[in-house]
Assembly symmetry: C2
Homo-oligomer: 381 residues x 2
């Protein structure tokens, strides 16, 4: 163990006051020396995921944000409507760290973890938008030879989510998948997994450019929801793949219901005889994202009675799948970080730039395929 | 076995032609002699359930119906829009019998069923809106001493549905229930079951009269969705009962989502610490009816991620529960047909009256608490 009094570094914090004001800032903090089973990681790369933005902003209105402070120590304030406060009562006046995942170099290690000193590791578990992060050994993945922290920063959220979709499919007795916002980093990853595993995948995208991108990556079924024949093409792809399980990142609007209706239409094509209640083939769509925060609407006539909609979250899913399954999935991710599970970034930014107006507006758009990587050791004033 | 050439009688038929015209009529038909394990029942009472109306009318527009024929042999014709035809392709040009359940007297019996001759039985399985119905012995329930066909006509759909709700609750790990349109015959029955079994039940009704009716029947939690404090009262009732499973007969509109949101609000009251994704307590609402045929809408912000919506149907549920469970439920119904499982009827009508304009408009309103009983041996011209 390397002796010392801890390490000083910057970390990004989000706080919503009891009277409804969000404040984002960088603060200098001391990371205490690690316990015997802990390490301290110098964080070198950490991505901005949609789930991070949820913690970062809460229900605050970015449009009304005020930017102050200095370039090196920016401060962002934005109001939260009084109506939104009860739902977040438990976080009010608490200073929250941000950042689900990232990677870097082990610079301190507890007595049980000395073998990790100097190694490059990926970490999951929050508080990664910081220069240093104390972590349990068990929260880490040692990066394979030749894999950098940039390669390993997005090792958990997207890879485990995409693999989680496939495991959910198997566990619930489905044999093929539908995915929306399919041109996203996550969608491209799911396409690579399904191609590798021989799983039928219907990719729903929102424009011809996204369709071209996925077809260029070997996707067989790509359906453009902006095309006039969307419903017919979707139904044909569902009939061909037999997909009865969908994962929807959009959430709001009619899309999830349209998928259920097309699944039912595909099921009725192969059904024999008339059933007033529709086909008895169970059709399920999980909403895992909120790209559209408006209300979700669906018609029941076209979907029959054998259907389900539900929320889907990674952590409860992994808990249900069990530790052995999670270990198997992690090992697969580690082996293929630079291929199947590679992420692509729109830009690399510093911790301070994370709180600059244009940058914030860019990543808060959550545009499909756009993804930012924070390099916490860069751009320090 | 009683020898003969079958029995002649009237039966009500529904047919939708390939070019989109619904025709309802009575026809004279010969019910053939029973096989060894079959009986012929002279049907004396058979109810009109919402599920029967679905088969009767399909997607036809009753507002545009034309009534012809005679009082004894009425004929109803109503158009079906071309857009609705593909979904019912499998029933086009087929003459369908109607009527899920009913009761009467055994007037013919196969060699294995002679013990049933002269007995009063209840039957489930379709084609009950008729004067005679051939049935397998196993489709019948012998009515207990002192129980008439009128008492036993609604022995299956509502009783098994209400008991099915409770079985689903137990199987999926919930401990209390929410029910909408709770002043219906089914709702009153569910209230009696939950009182008998000590199960917490939150009854959602649509006006103060319905609230008074259920309170008069000993219901503890009755919430009026037309009251200004609906959400607050609902949330308090959910918190007190711990109900995390709802059965919704309305289907369309915001109600199912409001129930999920109130369940989540109740869960957050007892949660410790902040979870950006909402409570981890699973909340489920099943849509089993379509009193509102409009689109279903819900907001995801107030419901978190641990939620599900789904269709619910009696027959697949019973299949999943297994034959032993179904037998247990049937026995319970038989024992309590005149108390817990009693139905109340707005009017008793003949087969011919079932196709009269005013009568049809009345039962097609599907007004809560209104229910019609057909007496097929009455009013024969």
């Amino acid at each position: 163990m390397v002796e010392g009094d801890g390490l000083n570094g910057l970390e990004l914090r989000s706080r919503i006051s009891g009277d409804g004001m969000l404040e984002l800032s960088l603060r200098e903090a001391t990371v205490p020396e690690p316990a015997p089973d802990e390490i301290i990681v110098r964080v070198e790369a950490t991505p901005i995921n949609p789930s991070d933005i949820g913690v970062l902003l809460g229900p605050a209105a970015l449009d009304a944000a005020e930017f102050s402070g200095t370039a090196a120590r920016p401060v962002v304030r934005a109001p939260v409507s009084a109506a939104a406060l009860p739902a977040i009562a438990a976080r009010l006046d608490a200073s929250l760290p941000v950042g689900n995942e990232g990677a870097g170099t082990v610079v301190r290690a507890g007595t049980d973890a000395v073998d990790l000193l100097g190694k490059q590791v990926a970490v999951f578990g929050g508080a990664m938008w910081a220069q240093y992060r104390r972590a349990k050994m068990t929260e880490c993945l040692v990066l394979p030879e030749g894999t950098t922290p940039r390669d390993g920063a997005s090792w958990y959220v997207n890879p485990m989510t995409a693999l989680g979709f496939v495991e959910t499919m198997r566990q619930e007795g489905h044999t093929a998948l539908v995915h929306t916002a399919a041109a996203s980093n996550l969608g491209q990853m799911l396409n690579r997994i399904c191609r590798a595993d021989g799983i039928g995948l219907v990719n729903i995208v929102r424009n011809p450019q996204q369709e071209a991108l996925l077809r260029g990556q070997g996707a067989r079924h790509v359906v453009d929801s902006s095309a006039p024949d969307f419903t017919a093409v979707l139904t044909a792809a569902l009939a061909e793949t037999g997909a009865t399980l969908g994962f929807d990142a959009v959430g709001g609007g009619p899309l999830a219901g349209q998928i259920l209706a097309a699944m039912e239409a595909a099921a009725r094509q192969s059904a024999s005889g008339y059933n007033h209640y529709g086909s008895d083939r169970h059709k399920q769509v999980y909403l895992y994202g909120r790209l559209n925060t408006g209300p979700t609407t669906f018609e029941r006539g076209p979907i029959g009675f054998a259907w389900g909609l539900g929320g889907w979250l990674l952590m409860p899913t992994l808990k249900k799948l069990g530790a052995a399954t999670e270990a198997r999935l992690r090992a697969r991710v580690a082996a293929d970080l630079k291929t199947t599970f590679a992420s692509h970034y729109t830009a690399e930014i510093s911790l301070a730039e994370t709180l600059q107006p244009e940058t914030m507006r860019a990543y808060c758009r959550r545009a499909t395929g756009e993804k930012f990587l924070i390099l916490p050791q860069q751009g320090l004033g």
